[in-house]
Amino acid sequence: MEATEHSPVPLLELRNVSKSFQAVRALRGVSIALRAGEVHALAGENGAGKSTVVRIIGGEHQPDGGEVLLDGEPVRFSAPREAQQRGVAVIHQEPIQFPDLSVAENVFMGRQPLRPGRRIDRREMNRRAAEVFDRLGVPIEPTRQTRGLSIADQQIIEIAKALSADARIIVMDEPTAALSAVEAERLFRVARGLAERGAALLFISHRLDEMYALCDRVTVLRDGALVATERMTEIDHDTLVRRMVGRSVEQLFPERENEAGDEVLVVDGLNRAGVFGDISFTVRAGEIVGLAGLVGSGRSEVARAVFGVDERDSGTVSVNGRPLPAADPRTAIENGIALVPEDRREQGLVLELPIERNASLARLPQVSPGGITRRARERALARKWGERLSLKYGRLSDPATTLSGGNQQKVVLGKWLATEPSVLIVDEPTRGIDIGAKVEVHALLSDLAAQGIAILLISSELPEVLGMADRVLVMHEGRITAELSTEEATEETVMYAATGNGRGGQNGSAA
C-alpha cells in the first residue's frame, strides 16, 4: 500500500446512512469519511449508534438508506467476508476466537496460505503468524491452542488478523477496554504505523484522552444522529463531552446526601484461583460503593462469587452479620442479596416471557400460595413495581422483548427489588440504554440508597462511578488496587489504579 498523504477521495465513506431495527431507529442520516493515513475517532454515549456504524462498515448489517462508498464507488457488503475481501477489518471489543484451534489458524482462518493441490501450508502459516506477532512485539506461540489466552492476547490475535490481511480500512471497536496502559500504548504505536503506511483507521474508545492522543479527526454521534465532525485539535475536552452527552454531566447524576449506616455486606479474603484474589471490602447501609476497573479485571466475577452463582476457593461473605455459604444463591437471596447481572438479555430476563412473569421470577413463592402460581397476584406485583419504577409498557402480558433497553433494565431491577433486598449488586446497570433512561436508573439507585439499601455498583463508565459512588474500589487483574473516597476519586486516580498502578496500603484497610 502506497502512502498517499491526503488522497482526495476517502478510502471509505458513509453517506447519509440510516438503519432501523424493528421500531428502533439506530442511525439517522449519518455521514463519515475515512481517509488514508488518518485515524478517525467515533465518539458517543452507549446507544448512540457507534456499534451500528461498525457493523455496517464490517458488512454485518446493511444500511436501509444512504450509501457506502469504497474508493468513491458505491458498494454493498452483504456479508463480513465481502467486506474483508475488499480490505476492511473490524477488531471487535470482545474478541471471539476458535478456542479449539491454534493461534495461527485463528489468524488465517479462511485465508490460509496454500501449497500446490490446495493444501494448507502449515509451516508458512506459522511463520507468517510469528512474523506478524513479531511486528506487534508480542511473543505469542503460533502453534499454541487458543483456549486459555487472556483477553489482551486475544485482542492481539484480532489485530494480527487485520495486519496479515493487509487491511486498508481498520475499525477498532473499543480495543483498549481490556488492555493495560502498556498494552494500550503498544497498540497505539501499531495503529499509528498502520496509518502512516496509508491505512484509514476508525477508532472507538470511551476514554477521551486516548482520542486526543491518537486521532486526527472525530465524529460525534448522539441518539443515532450525526452531531459533528471536527479536527481533534479544534475541539476541546468540554465541548466534546457536551456534544456527546447533549447536556452537562452534572445533570446526569442526582444530588446525594447519605448517612451511611451499619456495615451490611462484609466480604473478607475472597479468593478464586486465576480469577481474583484477596478481595476484602464492606458496604454500609445507605451507601453506594463503586467497583471500577477495566473489562476483564474480575469485577463481575467477584459479584457472582459474592452472590454465590460461582464457587469461591476461600474467604467469607456475610450479610447483616450472618455468614453465607459458598455457591448457594438461594440462601443469598433469602439473606437479602440481589444481583442485577451485567447482561440483562442473557442473564437478567427471559425475553420471550411476558413482563409480569419476568417481574415475579425471583418472588415465585410470594405469588404462588400452595405452590400454584396465581396470575392475578403476579400481575399485581408487576403493576406495583411498574408504577414505582415508571415503567413504560404496552400490556403487562407482552413479552419482555417488546420493551426498550432502559425499560428492560427496570424490569430486572424491579424483579430484584420485589425481594426486598438489603444488599443490591448492580453490574453495568446503564449499558446500552439511552440517556433519559440512564438518568432514571441513577435516580432510582439514589432513592434506594436513601431507603437504606447497601449498593455495590459495578460500572465501566467512569463518570457513572464518580457521579454515583460514595466510595470507589478499583480492581486490576483480579485484585483490589485502590480504595478511594469521593474526594480522592477522579478519572485520573481511578484509571491509574485500574491499569495496575495501584497504590498499596489502601487495600483492605476498611474491612
Binding site: 454485518e60 456479508a79 463480513p80 467476508r81 465481502e82 474483508q84 475481501q85 473490524v90 471487535h92 471471539i96 476466537q97 476458535f98 478456542p99 479449539d100 484451534l101 491454534s102 489458524e105 482462518m109 479462511g110 490460509q112 496454500l114 490446495r118 493444501r119 494448507i120 506461540e141 502453534t143 499454541r144 491452542q145 483456549r147 486459555g148 487472556s150 484461583a273 486465576g274 480469577v275 484474589g277 484477596d278 486490576h476 487483574e477 483480579g478 485484585r479 488496587t481 495496575g500 498502578n501 495501584g502 498499596g504 496500603g505 487495600n507 483492605g508 484497610s509 474491612a511
Partner: protein, 347 residues
C-alpha cells in the same frame, strides 16, 4: 500447547492400548480370536461401522449430529436388493453409485433442514430416523418383497462384498481409503479446517466469513453418501436384506465417534480416532460371547462406552480449565508483584 496436543493424540494411543488389552484377554480365553482369521473377521466387522463413523465425525465436528444413519443405511441396502430384482445383472458399480446417490439425497434432505431451515440437527435427524425407516418398510410392503436373498443378487456383487486382496477384505480397504481421504481433507484443506471452526465457535465462524450453511450442508451430503455406501456394502457382504437393516446403528456410530475422542460439542477430534473407536467397540462386541457374556449385552456396552467417554472428556476439560486458571494466576503476580503483593500491608 504440547500438553494439550499430547492429550489429544493420547486419546488415540489409549484406544489402541485398550484394544490390545481386550484382544489379549480374549485371546487368552480363546486362542482362535488372535488367529489370522480372527483379525480378518474383526476388521471386516468394523469396516461398515467405520464408514458410518467417518461420516458422523464430519458432522459432530461442526456441532451437528445425524441420528438417521441406521435408517439411511437400511434404505440403501434395500435399494441394492431391489435393483437386482429389477435386473439380475445390474453392474456392481451402478448399484454402488445408486446407493451412494440415495444416501447423499437423504443427507441433503437432513442438511437442508439443518442448514437452511435452521432446525437443530438432533430434532431433524430424530425425525428422519423414523421417516426414512417408514419409507423403507412402505417400499417393502408396497412391492411385497420382504426379504431379498443371496440367490436373487448377482454373484459378482456377492463376491465383491466377501472378497479380499492379499488377505485384506475389500470392505476394510474401502474403509481405509475413506479414512485416508477424509483425514487428509480435514487436516489440509481450508474447507476441512472450516468445519472445525464452525463447531468451535459458530459466531466467530460467521464473522470470519465462513459459509457455515454451505459447509454443514456439504458435510451432511458427504456423510449421507458414505452411509449409502455402507448400506450397499452391508447388502453385498451379508447377502440377505430386509427392511430392518441397520436398525439401532446410530447408537453404535455415535458411541464410536465419541469414544474416539471427537468432542460432542464440536471443534475437535479426528476421523482416525473415530475409526479406532469403531474398531474398539466392535472388538469388545465380538469378545463378549467368548468371555461368556450373553450377546444381548452388546448394546448396553455401546451405551456404557458412550457415557464413559463423555464423562472422561468432561473431566479432562475441567482439569484443563482449572490448570489454565492456575497458570494464569501464577503468571500474574510476576508482572506486578511490586504493586499488589509486595506493598499491601496485612491489616
Amino acid at each position: 500447547m504440547n500438553r494439550v496436543r499430547s492429550l489429544l493424540s493420547g486419546r488415540e494411543i489409549s484406544i489402541v492400548l485398550a484394544l490390545v488389552a481386550v484382544v489379549a484377554v480374549t485371546g487368552a480365553v480363546n486362542p482362535s480370536f488372535v488367529s489370522a482369521q480372527g483379525f480378518h473377521d474383526l476388521f471386516l466387522n468394523a469396516s461398515i461401522i467405520a464408514l458410518l463413523a467417518i461420516g458422523q465425525t464430519l458432522l459432530v465436528i461442526t456441532r451437528n449430529i445425524d441420528l438417521s444413519v441406521g435408517s439411511v443405511m437400511g434404505l440403501t441396502a434395500y435399494l441394492s436388493g431391489q435393483m437386482f430384482i429389477a435386473d439380475h445383472d445390474t453392474p456392481v458399480i451402478v448399484v454402488v453409485l445408486a446407493g451412494m446417490a440415495l444416501g447423499a439425497a437423504c443427507g441433503a434432505f437432513n442438511g437442508a433442514l439443518v442448514a437452511i431451515a435452521k432446525v437443530p440437527a438432533l430434532v431433524v435427524t430424530l425425525g428422519t430416523l423414523y421417516v426414512f425407516r417408514g419409507v423403507d418398510y412402505g417400499w417393502a410392503s408396497a412391492t411385497g418383497v420382504h426379504q431379498i436373498n443371496a440367490d436373487q443378487m448377482s454373484p459378482s456383487f456377492l463376491s465383491f462384498g466377501s472378497g479380499s486382496i492379499l488377505g485384506i477384505p475389500h470392505l476394510t480397504l474401502i474403509a481405509v481409503a475413506a479414512l485416508a481421504v477424509a483425514g487428509y481433507a480435514l487436516h489440509n484443506w481450508r474447507s476441512g479446517r472450516e468445519l472445525y471452526a464452525i463447531g468451535s465457535n459458530p459466531q466467530a465462524a460467521r464473522l470470519a466469513g465462513i459459509p457455515a450453511g454451505k459447509r454443514v450442508f456439504s458435510a451432511f451430503v458427504i456423510s449421507g453418501a458414505l452411509v449409502g455406501l455402507a448400506g450397499v456394502l452391508h447388502a453385498s457382504y451379508f447377502g440377505t436384506i430386509n427392511a430392518s437393516v441397520g436398525t439401532g446403528r446410530e447408537l453404535a456410530v455415535v458411541a464410536a465417534v465419541v469414544v474416539g475422542g471427537v468432542a460432542i460439542f464440536g471443534g475437535s477430534g479426528t476421523v482416525l480416532g473415530a475409526v479406532l473407536g469403531a474398531l474398539l467397540l466392535t472388538t469388545i462386541t465380538s469378545a463378549l460371547p467368548i468371555l461368556g457374556v450373553p450377546a444381548f449385552w452388546q448394546r448396553a456396552v455401546d451405551g456404557a462406552a458412550l457415557l464413559l467417554a463423555i464423562s472422561l472428556d468432561r473431566a479432562v476439560m475441567l482439569r484443563l480449565a482449572a490448570r489454565l486458571r492456575a497458570e494464569r494466576s501464577r503468571a500474574r503476580p510476576a508482572g506486578d508483584t511490586g504493586d499488589t503483593e509486595g506493598s499491601v500491608p496485612r491489616a
